[in-house]
Every structure is written in structure tokens, then in C-alpha cells.
């Protein structure tokens, strides 16, 4: 762990460097400049966001993205208060359909991931010895140690054991939707309910309202795609703490597993439970909501999945690649020594943002990349990042999408958007974490 995770930057001035282009083009696409830049070079100079904005790099190509994310000579950067650094902001940041007002610009320039900052604060208050109980805020070797203790609970086999529970959750959610009737907001009634119940079941929380009191809280702010209020965080903390207290050695969930099979302290387990519940919930809501939006925006895709359920598994990977909901969060790195990447000299201390949407639309790896092609083998996309920090929960998300798409194509083959696709409102933070804010559907 760096003792000072702050934003000092040794190398050069910003001069006339551009900010990272952000925004949403058309219905789903990342900014066109990213593709234009990528055609010229796999790494482009940018001016980073942050309290002391300074020169940096954005990685645009798929191969180079994997190279940087997989290279321990690039360490993760955090703000002084434990937040995740976002690369973009500034005057050019707000364009397209997710455009926001000037008032938010100053706040976003600080690039703090609000929810994670609160989480870090709460957890480090809890444990004064540890900088944070949330592994997201650690670098090697602490990150490696904790990740190693968590990984086994996310293995393909362990996650598959959860499948009957996910089946039951999805089935009850579907039944409730049928009962409520159409038109209905698919975000609120499906994309939120399924991950909320699934992550609570997985972690071992019993009160879902500890994670979310009001669905629109998820989409109302620009800073990170979601904001967690101090109150909400306190509720989650209380719930996680009591879940750890009431867990027994036979508890069949993450908290029980960690108590039984890890050497983490109870305090650390509370922090881990909060972190997994938060990150596993918010991101999955955005992915599920976006996946249905993309499938229904051109109904022929929905019809194809209804007729060919065997397409669902590959379609999930393609939806993940095409949508790349994580448009800029969490992938800022700092070179700990001089590194040459793709023939470019990166100096020690240089900041590098890896653009996941640019990498996942790299035509060298995915021909005709701007096409959502359900017949494509999109495995190898970097939605979940790459390297030692690749998303811990990715296999859980795959199971949720698999069960959900199988069940919903079977039960709602006539599902369709109740509004034209270009009138579907996007989340205020859609240029950071993409999602429709509501998705009115009928069947």
C-alpha cells in the first residue's frame, strides 16, 4: 500500500491536452473520438481529471488494455480519501443524452466514487489498524492476500451451487411481474429486484432495504452512476454487522464461509460483506437493465433468443462486450517505474486510464465492433477488467443473466418496449456507468 495515495504528479504540464471524451452516442455507443483516436494510436495523451489535473494517457486498443491491466508495474490509483479516481471530467465531459448541468461539473472533477468513498470511510473507522477493509482500495501484496482468501467462494463450482436459489428468485420476480401487469418499468421490477435478492442471498444479508431504499437513488447522480448516502451506508453497516453476528458455522453464504474458512477478522468480514454487496449489486443492476434495453431496442434480437435459447450464453458475452457498462470507472493506474507499452515510453509516475469501451470496440479484436452481433464469440472482452483485479463476481453475474434470459424469453416472448428506443431515459451517470433509468415495456 502506498502511504500517500494522493494525486502528486511529477511529469510535465497539461498544456493543450484534451480531456477524455465522454458521453453516449446514439443509443448505446461510447464517444466517437475514442474510435478516431484508436485508429491513430493504441495510447493517446489526455489531461486527467482530478483536483490537480495533469497529463496522462488513455489506452484504447484491446491488446494494450490487457497488457497494462495485467502488468503489476501499473498500480491502482486512489484519491486521498480512499475514493476511486475517474479519468474524465471538465468542460467537455457532458455531451450526448446523458448530459448533465454545470453544477455537477465541479463535483465530478474530483472524480471520487461516492459510494466507495463512504464505504472506505466507514470501514476504516471500524478498523483503525487497517487503511480500509475494502480490498478495492488495496494494492499488492495486501490485495493479493485478501483476494486469495475470497477467490474460492467465487469459483465456477461454488457459484453454480447458487443456481437453484437464483432460479427461485427469478421465478418469483417473473411471477410478480405477470401479476402486476403491463405496461411496467422493467428496471424497477426486474433489473433491480433480481440482483438485490441474489446478492443478499449470496452474502448472507436478510434485509434488502439495507442496500437500496429507493430505486431512483441508483440513477439520480452523475458522480459515479450511483450515490450512497451516509444514512444508507449506516443501514448497510448495521445489517452487515448483525449478519456477521448472527451467522453460525453452518451458514451457507459468503459471511458464513469467511467465518469458517478464512483467517479474516470479524471486522474485516463486515467490510468485505459491505463491499461485495455494494459493488455486486449496483453494477449488476446496470448490466441487466442495459441488456434488456439492447435486446428490445431491436426486437428481432429478443425474438431470436426466444427461438434459439442456445444463443443465450454467447449472447451474454456479446451484450457485455457491446454495452461495456463500465465506461470509465475504476481503471486508472500509475506506473511505478518506467515502462514501454506498444512502443510508447510511459514514465514512472504517469497515470494511465484504460478505456474498457474503447478496448471492447477494437476492430482488431472484434471485427465490425459497433454491431451487436448475437452470433459473435465475444469471449475475451474486458468488461470485467483484466489481470489480478479482474472482477471477482463475474461468474455470479453470468449465472444471473443466464437464468434471467432463459426464464424471461420463455415467459414473455412478446415483450416489447412501450416507448421508442430513443425516448428511453438514461441514468444521469450513464457516461460513467451505463444504464437506462427506466425501461417501460409491455407484452
Amino acid at each position: 500500500v502506498s502511504t500517500d495515495p494522493g494525486t502528486e504528479y511529477p511529469n510535465g504540464a497539461t498544456d493543450d491536452l484534451p480531456y477524455l471524451p465522454v458521453g453516449v452516442e446514439g443509443l448505446f455507443d461510447p464517444p466517437l473520438e475514442l474510435a478516431r483516436w484508436r485508429n491513430e494510436t493504441p495510447l493517446h495523451r489526455i489531461r486527467m481529471a482530478g483536483p490537480e489535473s495533469h497529463p496522462g494517457w488513455v489506452v484504447l486498443g484491446h491488446r494494450v488494455a490487457r497488457e497494462v491491466l495485467g502488468d503489476p508495474r501499473f498500480e491502482k490509483v486512489f484519491t486521498r480519501d480512499g475514493g476511486i479516481v475517474l479519468p474524465a471530467a471538465g468542460p467537455q465531459a457532458h455531451r450526448g443524452r446523458s448530459g448533465a448541468g454545470e453544477d455537477d461539473a465541479a463535483r465530478e472533477r474530483h472524480g471520487t466514487h461516492e459510494g466507495d468513498r463512504c464505504l472506505a470511510a466507514a470501514v476504516s473507522e471500524l478498523d483503525e489498524l487497517s487503511r480500509s477493509g475494502d480490498p478495492i482500495f488495496w494494492n499488492a501484496p495486501e490485495h493479493t492476500r485478501l483476494r486469495g482468501q475470497l477467490a474460492k467462494f467465487f469459483s465456477v463450482r461454488r457459484i453454480r451451487e447458487l443456481r437453484p436459489d437464483v432460479n427461485a428468485i427469478v421465478s418469483s420476480v417473473a411471477a410478480r411481474v405477470e401479476e402486476e401487469g403491463d405496461p411496467i418499468d422493467w428496471v424497477e421490477s426486474v433489473a433491480v429486484r433480481v440482483p438485490l435478492q441474489t446478492i443478499c442471498r449470496f452474502v448472507g444479508l436478510t434485509d434488502p432495504s439495507a442496500l437500496l431504499a429507493n430505486t431512483q437513488d441508483l440513477f439520480a447522480t452523475e458522480t459515479s452512476g450511483f450515490t450512497v448516502t451516509a444514512e444508507q451506508l449506516e443501514r448497510l453497516f448495521v445489517e452487515a454487522e448483525s449478519a456477521v453476528r448472527r451467522a453460525s458455522s453452518s451458514s451457507d453464504n459468503l459471511i458464513g464461509n469467511l467465518l469458517r474458512e478464512s483467517n479474516l477478522t470479524e471486522r474485516e468480514i463486515v467490510g468485505v460483506a459491505m463491499a461485495i454487496a455494494q459493488t455486486g449489486f449496483h453494477t449488476t443492476v446496470h448490466l441487466l437493465a442495459s441488456a434488456f434495453f439492447a435486446l428490445l431496442a431491436d426486437r428481432s434480437r429478443w425474438v431470436r433468443l426466444c427461438n434459439e435459447p442456445s444463443l443465450i450464453l454467447p449472447a451474454i458475452e456479446e451484450l457485455m462486450r457491446f454495452l461495456t457498462i463500465s465506461r470509465q470507472s475504476a481503471h486508472v493506474r500509475r506506473a511505478v517505474e518506467d515502462v514501454e507499452v506498444a512502443g510508447v515510453q510511459i514514465k514512472k509516475g504517469d497515470w494511465v486510464h484504460v478505456s474498457l469501451p474503447a478496448a471492447n470496440r477494437d476492430p482488431e479484436r472484434f471485427p465490425n465492433p459497433d454491431e451487436l452481433d448475437l452470433d459473435r464469440d465475444a469471449s475475451g472482452h474486458v468488461l470485467f477488467g483484466f489481470g489480478a483485479r479482474q472482477c471477482l463476481g463475474q461468474n455470479l453475474v453470468r449465472v444471473e443473466l443466464d437464468v434471467l434470459l432463459n426464464e424471461m424469453t420463455r415467459r414473455f416472448p412478446t415483450l416489447r418496449l412501450a416507448v421508442p428506443p430513443d425516448e428511453v431515459p438514461l441514468s444521469k451517470g450513464a457516461h460513467i456507468l451505463f444504464a437506462p433509468r427506466t425501461l417501460m415495456v409491455s407484452w
Binding site: A151, S155, G380, G387, A388, Q390
Partner: protein, 76 residues
Amino acid sequence: MVARVSADVTACIGSGQCVLAAPDVFDQDDDGTVTVLDHEPPDDFLASVRSAAQRCPVRAITVDSRSEAPERPYRN
């Protein structure tokens, strides 16, 4: 020609991508760490094994295609 598959268990972070790509060749042990079920899988599995190697986030999987006799030169 035989493809020799190996996995670096010290690099493995247990993401399970190899198991998703090639379940006949890879598994995860109780700690989530990769185990190779078949070090010399039949040619039919080669595409999925290469996909597994490609998807591994820490590049822990090596697929070595070479002639069986070690003294012969590598074939690319």
C-alpha cells in the same frame, strides 16, 4: 503432434475463465486454483483450450504445440 497444456498455479487468481472455456480440460480445486484435468487433450479440445489461455486474466495457462520428440525443432 501433441499439445501440452500446463497452468501456473502460483499465478492463478481463481477467476474460473478456463473452466468456462474448456470444462473438460480445466477445473478449480477447493481454493479456486486451477487444476489441469488433461495435460494432453485431444485435438478436438484445442480451440477451447486456446480460448481458455486467451481468457485467463493472469496468463497462467500455456499451450505448447510441438512435435512429440523433444529434439525436433518447434513448429509454429
